[in-house]
């Protein structure tokens, strides 16, 4: 079987009834999709399959032979972060990081579907993702910033300094 992973064609030997998550993590050593609940409930394994967010733990690899898969490593480029990555960076939307690749990919896809998404749409669109650290507020604020286009995608810079009162 073949997958186009972040633009690079990869041959796979993972058995076809194993999950896409297993193939990515254990055969291709791409560990950004996290093995959380393994039943579709936590969102941490979310990747884009042909551009659409999917729970990698629920997708048998045999069902997506030939598909294009994007993990969080595929969002930016060597020179630039994607808007969602930059927004998470500047808005301190990450703590332990376990849920973040799933959140970023889901948010990236949400803003492709609904470029000007407001707070309610963002909360609804990311409802399947769990974060046990941030309390979600910073994540929602980051996605709101990306939706407004309020992002600086240059890689070579410091994060914006927190001003007094802005820290949660």
């Amino acid at each position: 079987m073949k997958l186009l992973v972040n633009g690079i064609e990869r041959d796979l030997e993972t058995p076809p009834l194993e999950s896409l998550l297993t193939a990515l993590r254990e055969e291709l050593a791409i560990t950004s999709p996290k093995a959380g609940c393994l039943q579709g409930g936590c969102g941490a394994c979310t990747v884009l399959v042909d551009g659409e967010p999917r729970r990698a733990c629920l997708v048998p690899i045999g069902a997506v032979d030939g598909a294009s898969v994007t993990t969080v490593e595929g969002l930016g480029t060597d020179r630039e972060l994607s808007p969602i990555q930059a927004a998470f960076f500047d808005n301190y939307a990450t703590q332990c990081g376990f849920c973040v690749s799933g959140f970023m990919l889901a948010a990236h896809s949400l803003l492709e579907r609904e470029p000007g998404a407001g707070r309610d749409q963002i909360i609804e669109g990311l409802a399947g993702h769990m974060c046990r650290c941030t309390g979600y507020v910073k994540i929602v604020e980051a996605v709101e910033a990306a939706a407004r286009g309020d992002v600086d995608t240059r890689r070579d810079r410091e994060p914006e300094t927190l001003t007094e009162g802005s820290q949660a």
Partner: protein, 291 residues
């Protein structure tokens, strides 16, 4: 040093894994037995692969089956993956809506008659609705603690028909007969006649990770008003007392009052039997009020 470490992690996502350059590791042997996996690329191939359904596990969206497979609770001899079988799509002609078995739940929202459309929006979250299929939902086994087949109630209320394949060939039957039958069938398509009116009422979910505890579907079609509930027992069911009361001229409140007599609610992790019995007449009245 720590500062630099932090910057690298922030500024260069993926710096630790050089995608495309890492040597492929040897895949672990996860399965102690081998499953023959079939991936048909047309409906005809899917039907031929399914045969009489003996010893075969069908995977449509995977949202119900994959956790069973990954955990090792399910070890099928053969698995049939429907992802490429060409069984998805919604068409509408002469007042009949045909919904292919692997049509995602998400695609039903806004594109199918009420109360099916609203019920589809009650399922999971965006990604789960994108992956889960109507055929998988119709085939969901009755669950002790989770109303997985929650689209069955609107399909019962709409008097849907199920086209399926299996032993004895292809056939089309009412959703009532399909759900009551215990045979292994491969669902190919659902057919729904456009109702005159349709409405839904559900107990709200605290968040998208929860199942809807209980929901009532009502639709008016050629056979009058049909009413069904999911979450009042292990599987969705019609509410004949309510339907008969409506046919006899009762108003919404009057018809709803006897709803609890039709069900045998259970205690589970989502709600108590008492809560279900108490809320059912209210949900029925609400759904009928929205018709």
């Amino acid at each position: 040093m720590a500062r630099r470490h932090l910057r690298l992690r922030h500024l260069r996502p993926g710096a630790w894994v050089r995608i495309g350059e890492s040597p492929p590791s040897t895949p672990k042997a996860h399965m102690t037995h081998s499953t023959n996996v079939l991936v048909p690329t047309s409906p005809e191939e899917a039907v031929a692969s399914f045969g009489d359904g003996g010893g075969i596990t069908v995977v449509a969206g995977g949202t119900i089956v994959m956790p069973e497979l990954s955990s090792g609770r399910l070890r099928p001899e053969r698995a049939l993956l429907l992802a490429k079988a060409g069984l998805a799509g919604i068409t509408s002609e002469n007042g009949t809506v045909r919904i292919g078995a692997t049509t995602p739940v998400l695609a039903l929202v806004g594109a199918t008659p009420e109360p099916l459309s609203t019920f589809a929006a009650y399922v999971g979250d965006y990604e789960i609705r994108s992956q889960a299929t109507i055929g998988g939902n119709v085939c969901a086994a009755p669950a002790a603690e989770s109303p997985r087949g929650d689209l069955q109630a609107p399909l019962l209320a709409l008097g849907a028909r199920v086209r399926s394949a299996g032993a004895g060939g292809e056939r089309t039957e009412s959703i009532d007969d399909f759900l009551a039958g215990g045979e292994d069938r491969l669902v190919l398509e659902l057919e729904v006649d456009q109702p005159t009116r349709g409405a839904a009422a559900a107990l709200g979910r605290p968040h998208a990770h929860n199942y809807t505890i209980m929901a009532v579907a009502a639709a008016e079609g050629a056979d009058g008003v049909l009413v069904a509930v999911s979450g009042a027992g292990p599987r969705a069911q019609r509410l004949p007392s309510v339907e008969q009361a409506l046919a006899g001229g009762a108003d919404a409140a009057g018809a709803a009052a006897g709803a609890a007599a039709d069900v045998s609610p259970h205690d589970d992790a989502l709600a108590s039997a008492w809560y279900r019995s108490t809320m059912l007449p209210r949900l029925v009245e609400q759904a009928l009020g929205r018709l």
